[in-house]
Amino acid sequence: MAFVWKRLLGTIPSLVGVVVLTFFISHALPGDPAAYFAGPAANADSIANIRTTLGLDRPLPVQFVHYVGDLVQGNLGRSLTTGQPVLTDLLERLPASLELSSFALLFAISIAIPMGVWAATRINGPVDHACRALVTVSAAFPTFFVGLLFVYVFYFLLGWAPQPLGRLNEIAFSPPPHVTGAYTIDALIAGDWPVLRASLAQLILPAISLGLFALAPIARITRAAMLEALGSDFIRTARASGLPVRKILMTYAFRNVLLPVSSVLGMVFSFLLGSNVLIEQVFGWQGVGAYAVAAVIASDYAAVQGFVLMMAVLYVLLNLAVDIFATVVDPRVRFEG
């Protein structure tokens, strides 16, 4: 357990850094929040008034203390567009985003790892070429463009997917009773099969278009790590001892893939949390990303800052989870750390 505590302590500097940088972005940069809050019809007097009520005329260190005090109480300010506290807004929409990202990640991992292993065992085979093509394509295509292409092909041309307008066709179905906030899981809990089906149908396209981009780096690193493992002495010994291929691949070689994969997951999460915004925008998914985009368009300052802070904290926590996973799968990390 000691190493888990050590990792937990290790996140403190990151969290402090996140808070300081978010504060710096929202208070110390030349953009004037008071002018935003005052709206387009403001004059110099009303802006100065708002500056005083927001405390923006005080010295930066004082403002920072107040900022941290507000954060500790969970006060991220009030959204201009919805009129609600930003934290309430964000927490309301977070399950939808997590549902989308988790399905995307699940899709990516369940395809990428078998693909990488297969590619490594048959270098220059069809799967290896597919793997390489995928890596090239995913590095060159914008996520939002792929999302739109999928809508065009699978909704307009083929008619397989439902209209890309949110999480559930609310005219035909009513959302399941709220437990987790993720429609698919709530429908499962309620045992409401038609709603489960309908919400899965809405989820598939956005999850796949997001997952495709997480797939490529995982497949590439799995392939590389697997190749390295297969070329090592202990695999040669295992082969020479006549162990079955399946056991060599799955038990001996594959274990060595888990550590590199977990180290690339940090990058994948950074990507997923960022691209979520774009994909939610494309598919009308009512998550935190779409909320942030609406806030950006309305210059809803507090809402955007709250969103950035929440995503950063989430990202730090995900990295912590990845670190702990790495120490569990590979004891070497424990001793080095």
Binding site: V20, L21, F141, Q305
Partner: protein
Amino acid sequence: MSLITLTRNAGYAFGENRLTLVAVIILALLALCAIFGPSIAPYDPLVTSATTKLARPSALHPFGTDALGRDILSRVIVATRLDLGMAVSAVALSFVVGLALGSLAGYFGGWTDRIIGRAMDTIMAFPLFVLAMGIVVALGNSVANIIIATMIINLPFYCRFARAEVNVRREHGYVEAARMGGNGPLRVLLNHIVPNILPPMMVQASLNMGWAILNAAGLSFIGLGVRPPTPEWGIMVSEGASYIISGEWWAFMFPGAALVLAVFSFNMLGDGLRDLLDPRKRV
């Protein structure tokens, strides 16, 4: 490396990898569009027309027209300058700033290294696209601020790369010799170390260009920076997106394809350059 070996290597790399040659040709065409865009474009990219709204691709309008009747081909061509301009300036800025910060951190170590390292770790503690959004909103919604935001989220990669390269070379014999010769630290850095780390940094930069284009386009896709009616690929895709469900595919497809083409070419060029400079890293 003499010019002859360089050209021979270039010939080898191109012969080996035709894709690099294709990428160079595409990039040359894109550069032409970026420089001469407004004079090549068949129509004025801003002129609307009520009679040709959402016209299918035809001989008159090879890429069709958008919801306001503007010629999409002209808009795609004219947008090249803005899209490549944003990405090139962002990458150039992070290259210079990252090289400076990274070299200082790598050469002096100690507190300089710790402070710069901590700052870069803090940037990396954010999901990068989200951080870029926050920066643009805070700085104000403009193209210049898109460039600054893209520069900031790229900075850690250059900074860490330069730091590592400088750190390795700090104790090399020729650097010791330069120091013995009475050169000050800045002089040693600028004249003896930095020239050696420029080539690998350039490869890094060209591999990074595609990502910078995607980032800038993503920001303008969600309505940051570029304002309509300015032609820009990201915002054109977003404008065209509304007409997909009624089957008007050309309005989002062509600007999107232009983005893909540009990013793909930069990635291929980066791979080619890497092969040229460091054949060992080829996978």
